[in-house]
């Protein structure tokens, strides 16, 4: 059936209804095309999301052996009050990370898009190369690099350039730096797509009209790259806020992020409803922030879609 609908070919045995049926099937074609993706989203996104919300309104505990559904909205109110500071910290870290990623990635991708020539693909691959190694393992490697007497700080301390007690691990700096490192490709790729698509003749035209290089960038390249910046911001900011691996591996006593709390609730406390409630809170908060951001700064451009 599906193939018939797609190709519009009809079995010869039904000539009378051919006209109407053909039109109807044409209308149905997009639906058929959407089915695999739709089923996928239903099974792996919508249903789990429903279970998440359902769980978040349950009461009970591990010792009772079961949780039961009773519209327990206190799960939500309690969590917001109790973990306000971690929520704020997560968003703050994530904003710093996203800005740092943009500052790092923009010049880099600008250079690749405009000047790398035939090396473009190779250099892009170089940016992606570290990400062929597991996320967790890369983060753990940072512990070796940044160890108090490790290969980086050890020699500096021996030379007396740093005090013996100086350390970066277990501080917010390590966490923010770790997340920045891990999310850099999420910023770099959309930026690259946007910058690479800019028509070079526009820059030439600007120069013909006596703009300086800076003015050409300021008035031509930058505005045209904004959709990329927008996409990069979202793709970095949203997952970085929920990250907990960096805080767990590189952080210290005062760097707990909301992801760590959710992890502890799920695994140590076995308090699934509260963990689910916090997850929903984080998700809704991200949705609100992202929507507001899109309303204020968004464009009709499809860089985000193109990147994904």
């Amino acid at each position: 059936m599906a193939t018939e609908a797609l190709t519009g070919q009809e079995p010869a045995t039904e000539p009378p209804s051919r006209g109407r049926s053909y039109a109807a099937r044409r209308r149905l074609a997009p639906l058929w095309l959407m089915t695999p993706g739709g089923v996928y989203l239903l099974v792996f996104l919508i249903i789990p999301m429903g279970i998440l919300v359902y769980t978040s309104l349950q009461s009970g505990g591990a010792f009772s052996g079961r949780f039961y559904f009773d519209w327990d909205f206190a799960n939500y109110t309690d969590q917001i009050v109790q973990y306000e500071s971690q929520l704020i910290r997560s968003v703050t870290y994530s904003v710093i990370v996203t800005i740092a990623c943009l500052l790092l990635a923009y010049p880099m991708t600008y250079w690749i898009a405009f000047y790398a020539g035939r090396w473009k693909s190779s250099i892009l691959l170089l940016i992606l190369l570290p990400f062929f190694v597991s996320f967790v393992i890369r983060t753990v490697q940072w512990r070796f690099l940044l160890a108090d007497d490790g290969i980086l700080f050890g020699p500096l301390k021996d030379l007396g350039l740093m005090s013996d007690s100086f350390h970066v691990l277990s501080t917010p700096y390590a966490v923010v730096a770790g997340i920045t490192y891990n999310f850099l490709p999420f910023t770099a790729l959309p930026l690259y797509v946007a910058l690479d698509r800019i028509d070079r003749s526009l820059v030439e035209a600007a120069k013909d009209l006596y703009s300086s290089r800076w003015e050409a960038f300021r008035h031509v390249v930058w505005p045209l790259s904004l959709p990329g910046v927008f996409a990069a911001f979202l793709l970095t900011f949203v997952p970085a806020t929920g990250d907990y691996v960096n805080a767990a591996i590189l952080g210290g006593p005062g760097t707990t992020m909301i992801g760590n709390i959710i992890q502890a609730k799920f695994l140590s406390e076995l308090n699934y409803p509260e963990a689910a409630a916090l997850s929903v809170i984080l998700m809704v908060a991200m949705l609100i922030l992202a929507t507001a951001y899109a309303r204020v700064l968004g464009t009709e451009d499809d860089t985000l879609t193109a990147t994904i």
């Binding site: 597991s134 350390h167 760590n260 992890q263 799920f266 695994l267 140590s268």
Partner: protein
Amino acid sequence: MTEREDRERSDRLLQEAMRARLSRRSVLRGAGVGVAGISLASLLAACGEGDGGTGGNGDAQTGGAPADVFSGEPGDEVNFANWPLYLDQAKDKDGNVYHPTLKLFEEATGIHVNYEDVIQSNEEFFGKIQPQLAGGDSTGWDIIVITNGRQFNVLTTNEWVYRLDPAMRPNFDANATPFAKDPTYDPGNTFSMPWQGGFTGIGYDKTKVNGAITKLDDLANPAIVGTDSVGMLSSDMPDFVMINLGIDPATSGPAEWQEAADWLQMQRESGTVRQYYDQGYIDDFVAGNTPVSMAWSGDVIYYALWAGYTDFEFMFPEGGALLWQDNMMVPVGAGNAPGAAQVMDWYYDPKIATMVTEWVIYLSPVAGVQDRILEDADAALDDGYKGYSNKLRATAESPYSFPDDALLAQTKFGTNITNDEQAEEWDNIFLPITQQ
């Protein structure tokens, strides 16, 4: 005996190489991967439970009698889930790694044991099997090993593990140490038999502290331990602090918990704490990032005695230390409970237990192991393996591997949380300290 001699002579290097820089509790669990996998399972479990009624509360279990599943003939395979680096290993002529004690078991009984070191934390492993248990399905395991504590109690409270048959453990009755028998968290060993145990005390690098560390308060004194230098174990520290404040966790309640929390908050504000660890504390300790750390006895002893870190010291503060045991249990739905019972009792044969302890260096629940290790040390010396002999001797003479009554008297098991209200109260008191 040839098995043991074989191992002593030819596999010492392998042994040490394989254990190098790892300890069973400090293997980093790859936080991201683990949790991503678990949360969905947990959610589905939670959902299923909501609908599923009584779940795994098997009706046959209510009376307190041993489960009748133990009475049948044992099957020919036992599935055994344990922690990494927690069982003796050796290499055969072809270079394949095997477990000598399990090989001997198979020769003696004809039962093959599928041994897998899949448990890297109580929380994570519990999260994996909870959905099956709650749904009344088999976990696929015949033996699991869980530390006394919250997950252990959830398993017993819900009767998600079988009541063991006391008639099937003659070795246990004859050889279990006093602390392994009838522990407070499982009276009469109704549900469990200890696999190995250990102490939570203090490990420190003698060259990196100002003066000796003797008491708990030293961990909150920057003049002695410095700032940002102390590693704390999140899950063990409430009990550890209570014991050192003179409180027996067994009789503690919210007021005592708050007392411990106040001490921990004071310590936090003193600026000495570098990090609160769930995993991987030993890596930071060995790297020198936390020259003073709450630590598990076997970890520090291994580095000090077997790996050449002679500046490392493991000690109990004046107030005492925390005792814990990892316990073998048979989850409900196990396909071969009689076989599991045989395996569990097998490890209470002192000869077998010695082979395990010489490899894992934790606290053995079996009496008579110490003398046998000393005998092996003499034998190794006669055979010309002086270094190996010295290490065995040092292990056998370590008070933390083979504690006397005076040392044991300084230790206590942790708080026994047995219901959701207690658990919530406990979490509300202690979690804010680590999660600020």
